[in-house]
Symmetry: C2
Subunit: 275 residues, 2 copies
């Protein structure tokens, strides 16, 4: 199958490399020159948007706003299946309503990445063992086609309602990112050179998130702003309690973390950022 | 050298195992039966407090409140060097002032651990590559003795003023713990079974902290409450900004994270919790 990947950064290049390894013909579309990815044989070739209609499946691996723009501008062909990788799903689903009815849209979100970002951090096995959300709103046939590709990348497809997805990732992804960035920014502002050295393994893993880039995250946080604000308020309220009042919170948190540990055991371990 | 380790949980048992491997005679003192650690040859034997005066060096690997109690109650001998491993240093230094002047105290804090806690998670190489804070208030001779042991455990001794230490770990350790616990508690309260599956690698690493036990952390958070509250307020204020206003915070956070990455490259990588 010929697959066109639009946007060949961390996620797009990793998808391209993985699907090429799985035996597909993968085209890349990007403003940047992609000859290095072609030389690496992660891409069959770089194409222009005029050629898109010849692909069977199109993957939009761009920041959310650019995906919305691409959905309204690119020359999709009847019978094509279009999927995306954005961290927010409701705004993308809304933009996808502008597609002609013969073009099938399957919203997607791979729960994998690397806070370093960029094509330099890309690798064909980035999604190995990761959950890959696919939208419940998609028609069953096209969704099965995308599920197959997701499986070939070593990921676990999981069908989720877009609203439920966006509400949950506010807690599981967007708020942790926001807190890590703000904590690291505060430490940077204080300028005590000892701070880095007084990080244990947990704080170090948390603050590694602070490498993430602003342009992408501004879009993500803006498109899910209400949910992120609610999550921040709820966590702050709990954290503001006096320490001796936290017994139930610690107990509940331990129950959650124990299940988290279990799910990591049942599945292939999620890839860790390399330091 | 004969070393007595008081409290043989995660930290104490790991110290015992590591120092035994380095050729020392290590005694264990605990309310629990330690025969398993003796069988494993991490300890030479379990002793009672009456025997403590015969040890050259005493390591208090207990929760903060218990360390303060032990400092005022145990039969230390003139010429002994006493060190501890608590995550807060100012209250411990205050308690250590009650020691007889011929007993040398060297406050310590290994920046390593495992959120699972408990002797089951202990391992002799737990401290490999980790920073191990030693108090600037200690006399040079005794501090050098502790530094030597720290080096034998594979850790990097770092002399820090206790007040500066406590102020910094409020940001680098105590606030991340508090936020991870409160976020996990909130997710547990919401009860959506999809939450665990919608965690990417960053959020997963962060929420692994939520396994930490309440009794220990109540003491840590209580003894550093003012600094933790200030850190929470500062981070919350930054995080409450609208997304488009966060450009400078992301830029500062990236500078901090880049240095963090560098320090991880220069030193042996900090041990990760195993999942």
């Amino acid at each position: 199958v010929t697959i066109a990947v639009i946007g060949c950064g961390l996620i797009g290049a990793s998808i391209a490399g993985g699907l090429t390894r799985a035996g597909h013909t993968v085209w890349g579309l990007d403003r940047r020159d992609l000859s290095e990815l072609v030389e690496r044989r992660w891409l069959a070739r770089q194409v222009k948007s005029e050629e898109l209609p010849a692909a069977r499946l199109v993957v939009l691996a761009l920041p959310p706003d650019a995906i919305c723009g691409a959905l309204s501008r690119l020359p999709f062909a009847p019978g094509q299946v279009v999927t995306d990788t954005a961290s927010v799903k409701v705004p993308i689903e809304r933009a996808a309503m502008a597609l002609p009815p013969e073009v099938a849209f399957v919203g997607g979100h791979p729960m994998a990445g690397d806070s370093r970002g960029g094509v330099e951090a890309a690798r064909p096995d980035l999604f190995q063992g990761a959950v890959w959300v696919l939208s419940q709103r998609a028609a069953a046939g096209p969704r099965r086609q995308v599920e197959e590709l997701v499986g070939e990348l070593g990921a676990h497809p999981l069908t989720v309602d877009p609203e439920r997805h966006d509400r949950l990732v506010a807690w599981t992804s967007h708020l942790p990112q926001l807190l890590a960035t703000c904590l690291a920014a505060e430490l940077e502002a204080q300028g005590d050179p000892l701070a880095e050295q007084l990080l244990g393994p947990g704080g170090r893993a948390f603050l590694r998130l602070a490498r993430s880039p602003f342009p992408l995250w501004q879009e993500i946080l803006s498109s899910n702003q209400e949910a992120v604000e609610a999550a921040l308020a709820a966590v702050t309220a709990r954290a503001g309690q006096p320490p001796q009042a936290l017994a139930e919170d610690f107990a509940a948190a331990q129950r959650f973390a124990a299940r988290l540990l279990e799910s990591a055991v049942n599945w292939a371990p999620a890839r860790k950022d390399s330091t």
